[in-house]
Subunit: 144 residues, 2 copies
DNA sequence: TGCCGTTTTGACAATGGTTGTCACTCTTGA
DNA sequence: TCAAGAGTGACAACCATTGTCAAAACGGCA
């Protein structure tokens, strides 16, 4: 297994400058309007539907860049597909996601962070990072 | 995005009976000997290397079945590849994985479980599940 | 032990998300 | 305005995973 996360650089690198293009603006716009996690394919379909055509490869590249710069959050759907979301918080946080409608709540708390750190310390692991997502049925979907 | 986890049934279903075959025994053996998370492809290559040839499709099916029965844990590598591991604990737990060598420590603690539950409750989410993995550099790799 | 319905296997095709290619276009700073 | 180089897009290539389906293996039963 290979696990390469650019953890160290992610914190120190100030996010390299990128050029402003119509395509990136279009992707940005969709991300701003969308509150759920969305896949590259879905985003591409949306853009095509609204007329602002953007190449699929470009959508992938743009999302990748945004993710690298920490401007969008990425997680993997159960199908293994990467899904993206522009989050309100810039800092490290996690997500409470509705399984049926995708409604997402951003979660940030020192509790888990401390716990993860302490667990890693206990076993002598260094340079620690973690992934954590909570899934459930949101109130609205539960009512339906 | 689609998130379909058979959460409810996973707890109640008593794991259906399966036939004993040479191929499944071979996969089982490798899993027992391997302490790291391993991908279907890697497992298949291992089997081929040690002479006990097993079809790739069979390896995939076997791992899938084992995962469904809760006899192996699955998580996704950064490359999005599914990786499997036979865990000591049968009950719900998490993993502290070394990024460079894959050495894994099983983690079980009520702290996060309670935290996740409480966070979900606060937002009215029900039928809650979560995914959590911790990555780091193990002492051995840090020393090297 | 031999038979039979059922499960499992495996070689291969097919799927589908993602990345690579490369000539062409656009952005940016001078 | 202009040149350098970043960005784009149509398409091919990749590669993990799943579907197909006839042949082989398994397990219970006579
Ligand atoms: Zn987020
Ligand atoms: Zn965290
Ligand atoms: Zn485990
Ligand atoms: Zn847990």
């Amino acid at each position: 297994m290979r696990i390469d996360r650019e953890q160290a650089t992610q914190v120190t690198m100030p996010a390299k400058e990128h050029r402003r293009t119509r395509q990136r603006a279009a992707v940005d716009e969709v991300l701003d309007e969308t509150d759920d996690f969305i896949s590259a394919q879905e985003l591409h379909a949306l853009l095509r539907a609204r007329g602002a055509g953007v190449g699929l490869a470009t959508v992938y590249r743009t999302l990748q860049t945004l993710a690298d710069d920490g401007r969008v959050d990425v997680l993997r759907s159960d199908a293994g597909e990467a899904v993206y979301r522009r989050c309100v918080r810039e800092e490290h946080h996690h997500h409470l996601v509705c399984r049926s409608c995708g409604a997402t709540v951003e979660i940030a708390g020192p509790t888990v962070e401390r716990w993860a750190k302490s667990v890693a310390d206990q076993h002598g692991y260094t340079d620690v990072s973690h992934t954590l997502e909570i899934f459930g049925t949101c109130p609205r979907c539960a009512a339906a």
